[in-house]
């Protein structure tokens, strides 16, 4: 395994870089999109909530590979010329956003109804109550499940390998084919993924402790 790491260090590091970049973009993007759709889902406005629900149900029930291939193959033919890295990252963002929407929705809904009623009764608007009263409480509740989603996201970024996105898995496949040493290569790739996901995992645990629900 060390052989593989040493001999292919530049390729693996470049792959790690692409994986990290794609994961970061998708993490921020899916958190924003996911939260927006969560708010739509719980909206009292009927059409907003229908759109939110349909989006979540459609997206989370399609395999990530299908979504990504759609962006890689169909979008360039009709809409815009995007490469594998872009297509993979967009696919990953959209796919993860549906799961984050569900997580955030569950978090918001688990805050007692009385909190919203109380906030409104002292004169806050719906938006003010959401931001100042509900969000801070919901955020603490959703940290553990959000951490799960983020870790899944980093691992799912290996989807880039299927659309020539130059990520860690893509480089791993090429190295495995060049060296015929499949086992050691994927072991090395696995360890490099651990280097990305373990700190993330511990960071989420740290947040969980720091903002523990009192």
């Amino acid at each position: 395994m060390l052989n593989i790491l040493v001999n292919n260090f530049p390729e693996l590091m470049s792959g790690l870089g692409y994986t990290l970049m794609s994961s970061l973009i998708a993490l921020v993007g899916s958190l924003i999109i996911g939260t927006a759709f969560a708010l739509m889902e719980i909206s009292t406005h009927r059409w907003l909530s229908v759109i939110g629900n349909v989006y979540v149900e459609v997206v989370r029930n399609i395999p990530l590979l299908v979504i990504t291939m759609a962006f890689y193959v169909i979008v360039p033919q009709y809409i815009a010329q995007i490469d594998g890295f872009t297509a993979g990252t967009i696919g990953l963002t959209i796919y993860t956003s549906a799961f984050i929407a569900e997580t955030v929705r569950a978090g918001i809904q688990s805050v007692a109804v009385g909190q919203m009623e109380g906030a409104r009764s002292v004169g806050m608007t719906y938006t003010q109550a959401m931001i100042q009263i509900i969000f801070p409480q919901a955020f603490k509740i959703v940290i553990p499940p959000l951490g799960n989603q983020f870790i899944n996201l980093v691992k799912n970024s290996s989807i880039l390998a299927f659309v020539a996105g130059f990520d860690l898995m893509y480089q791993g496949k090429i190295i495995a084919n060049a060296t015929f040493n499949t086992f050691d290569t994927y072991l090395a790739v696995g360890v490099l993924y651990l280097i990305l996901t373990m700190p993330l995992s511990y960071f989420m645990r740290y947040l969980e402790k720091k903002w523990a629900v009192a």
Partner: protein, 272 residues
């Protein structure tokens, strides 16, 4: 204490993985003997490559020149009742699969190369392919020399063609996809300017969609051989003998004509 437990668990997990990696391969038994006992040879074949091995979605069977060769060779070795079991492989799964003992032999448009001969046994060449380019009709690219800096050329992971194109056109960017169907789809959606691989495979794509043409002739020699795990000398010899017999009794020529006889621009004499 808790941290120490974590550390021990992690070390334990890694050592299990390492031990698994050092284990002796189960694929070391003699495949010829095993094939005779079960009356079956398990072949790794392509299912995404027109003319060589392509899944016929109507019948559910894989069809192509490689498949017919596999069946003919099986009958030569095991007799008329011998069964050829077909297992789908891709360019990047075929070597791990033969190393793991999932398949006995690979007949999947596989070029004989010195690197591969270090880890595999090869039979004599049964098809002399050469690498070429497939482009959209009317493309400014007429040969490998026309590839400019920044041009994206699509290849398939685990095939020799990606190394060859990097040598023949170092200024171009190579995108590696997982199979030929996906590579052709990517070309159609404009992810690259050309697909590069062996001419036999490219002619198959061109036959499927005549808007795409093979240009520039072959710029490498790619002799296809049947691959077996390293050390399977008995089976390698038996297959070489079978290929010789098929060449002599006319079966080989009949199969070449069946699959490549009616393809415009393809010279049968070149590949035999």
């Amino acid at each position: 204490m808790k941290k120490l437990h974590h550390l021990i668990a992690l070390i334990g997990l890694l050592s299990v993985l390492l031990i698994a990696g050092c284990g002796k391969s189960i694929a070391s038994q003699d495949v010829l003997q095993h094939a005779k006992q079960t009356n079956t040879i398990v072949w790794g074949v392509k299912a995404d490559t027109r003319l060589f091995g392509l899944m016929n979605t109507k019948s559910g069977n894989i069809e192509g020149f490689d498949i017919d060769m596999a069946k003919a060779i099986t009958k030569q070795i095991l007799g008329p009742k011998g069964k050829a079991e077909l297992v789908q492989v891709t360019s990047d799964t075929r070597v791990p699969m033969i190393k793991g003992g999932n398949i006995d032999a690979i007949i999947a448009t596989m070029t004989i190369t010195p690197d591969r001969e270090k880890v595999l046994n090869f039979t004599q060449s049964y098809f002399a392919a050469g690498q070429s380019l497939l482009v959209k009709k009317g493309s400014p690219i007429h040969s490998v020399k026309d590839l400019k800096k920044g041009d994206k050329v699509i290849g398939v992971q685990g095939s020799t063609s990606v190394d060859n194109i990097q040598k023949a056109a170092p200024q171009a960017t190579v995108l590696q996809l997982s199979d030929y169907a996906q590579a052709f789809t990517a070309l159609k959606s404009g992810q690259g300017v050309a697909v590069t691989t062996d001419n036999g495979i490219l002619y198959g794509m061109s036959k499927q969609d005549p808007n795409y043409v093979v240009v520039g002739g072959a710029f490498t020699k790619e002799p296809y051989g049947i691959a077996l795990n390293k050390g399977q000398t008995n089976m390698t010899n038996a297959m070489n003998k079978a290929i010789n017999t098929l060449r002599k009794n006319g079966t080989y020529e009949k199969l070449i004509n069946k699959w490549f006889g009616d393809i415009p621009g393809f010279d049968i004499k070149e590949v035999e």
